[in-house]
Symmetry: C2
Subunit: 319 residues, 2 copies
């Protein structure tokens, strides 16, 4: 029988047990004591290199992820630290209730699933206090600690949640398709903020030139002067361009190293700590909400005798 103890599970997962690893990731999703113990161990381990892939449904992220697994296995890790092991986390935060544990069209990826150097998992939030924006970094750290040098995090969409998740990646790849000019228009600023690399996937379809021009114009207006996001064209279904994509990721990693990977990581750790602080405080709010003082403030609010800001101050005390 498999252990329920996080330390034993880390030992087993490090020795190759997928069942142990799966349980640790379930802990990372779930909150509670086991999640705390899992995080305590995971954050002491080696962080993996995290590549985020995001884009609308149907953009071809799964097929691209599949190709990137192949590239990573063929080439070895970014930093020659030993045999490559690649993990994939699939996240769909768009549906707050399903938690997004939808494996959908992952059939292709499953051919890698029997390979010992590959681990694929969809991630949901099953009670983690901070939701996916904490469960994802926790899970990547678990994977790094048990020996995965590279973690690909695949998310759907480009909303606030995806921005949050992207902030946990070293390199973020935004996947678009030819003819998406209008759709991108709407979320331009958000895309610019997170993208280190743009992929125009399905580049065998009409409209590639226009899409590239739109992206270039967008970058002309607002890209970070230190790193202008690369634009790569791919046809993931045939594999065309996926080697170039992998090389673009490596180039971005070298850029981060030149700038000091530690600086970027400190930023990320800072963001994580802030999220944890907020979620701990949120849970204290939940506790507060069980008290009589809270009900009194609620009565006053319903009666129009106070406003939520004043009520909050009454409950929390002056700053």
């Amino acid at each position: 029988m498999i252990s329920r103890d996080p330390d034993e599970l880390f030992a087993a997962a490090g020795a190759g047990s997928r069942t142990a690893l799966a349980r640790l990731l379930t802990y990372a999703e779930s909150g509670g004591e086991n999640q705390r113990a899992t995080a305590a161990r995971a954050y002491r381990g080696r962080p993996p290199y995290v590549v985020g892939l995001t884009g609308a449904p149907g953009a071809g992220k799964s097929t691209l992820t599949d190709r990137l697994i192949g590239e990573a296995l063929a080439r070895g890790p970014f930093d020659d630290s030993g045999p490559t092991a690649v993990a994939v986390l699939c996240v769909d935060p768009s549906s707050p209730f399903s938690g997004g544990a939808i494996l959908g069209d992952r059939i292709r990826m499953q051919e890698h699933a029997t390979n010992d150097a590959v681990f694929i998992r969809s991630l949901a939030t099953r009670g983690h206090l901070g939701g996916l924006s904490l469960a994802v970094p926790d899970a990547t750290r678990v994977l790094g600690t048990v020996g995965f040098a590279v973690v690909l995090v695949e998310t759907v969409g480009v909303g606030q949640m995806e921005v949050d998740i992207a902030s946990a990646a070293d390199t973020t790849v935004v996947v678009v398709n030819p003819g998406w000019g209008d759709a991108m228009q709407a979320s331009k600023a958000g895309l610019l903020e997170i993208a280190d690399i743009f992929v125009i996937n399905k580049a065998d379809r009409p409209g590639v030139r226009e899409t590239r021009r739109d992206l270039e114009q967008m970058l002309d207006l607002g890209a970070d002067a230190r790193w202008r996001p690369t634009i790569v064209e791919t046809v993931a279904s045939t594999g065309a361009g996926t080697a170039e994509l992998y090389e673009a990721i490596e180039a971005h990693r070298r850029h981060l190293e030149a700038e000091g990977l530690e600086v970027a990581r400190r930023q990320r750790v800072r963001a994580e700590l802030d999220k944890v602080l907020a979620s701990v405080l949120r849970s204290r709010v939940v506790d507060l909400a069980r008290g009589a003082a809270y009900e009194e403030q609620l009565d006053a609010l319903v009666a129009g005798e106070t406003d939520p800001y004043r009520a909050a101050e009454a409950l929390l005390g002056a700053p």
Copy 2:
């Protein structure tokens, strides 16, 4: 010159000044002292009846909103409380950086804009602590207090943020188009959670029957026993079905009244208070993050000597 004092602005806005009202809504977006004073007054006034409209870009929400303004003006308020005044808040939270103050294809609505009984405003977050999920309820309360009986809140998409915003509406209308079966599949649970009414807009296009069947099946599986969401077919561009939509909203309002509108509103006020509590605490985190103890924990995190949960406890003290 226009006053900067919220109390004076409320007096002027109540007497019909649109400039004063616009400034109050800017306060509601902006956070800070003026926002607090605005909320203090707004939450003591009469709450408006809030109708939320949500759906993907291009579903036809603006045109529908335009039609609903026409219906509301023609029919008078739901509760015969005096001359109808209808306000529209347009929110696009999908782009976290633009804040969504995009007026886009609102040209049609502008024909109402010269009508004294109509007020149209797009809402962004310009620094409000709790973001749009607090700025929207604050803004609806401002509008109610200055005399708008009905507020239509139009949001784009159906993600977590939209669910949050919908929780500030008395009646939530989810707008879909024929042929959206697959797209809806993904966010089924989220839609069910928030929809009081489904509109199949552009119902002159093929696929209406299938879309209705999909919706009915979804409702068969999971609808709240006390209110099964109505399904209305509209062609907003011609006005077909929009009277039925307005009547469906009225029917839902009567349902809420029969159940006790106060019960539903207490739920909403509770959700608002929780959000304010969380955002006040979050701002205290920001203050905390300026301290030396925080930097120490950050150093320990970067060095792999602690994890974010332990660091948070060190900073906040035991619960």
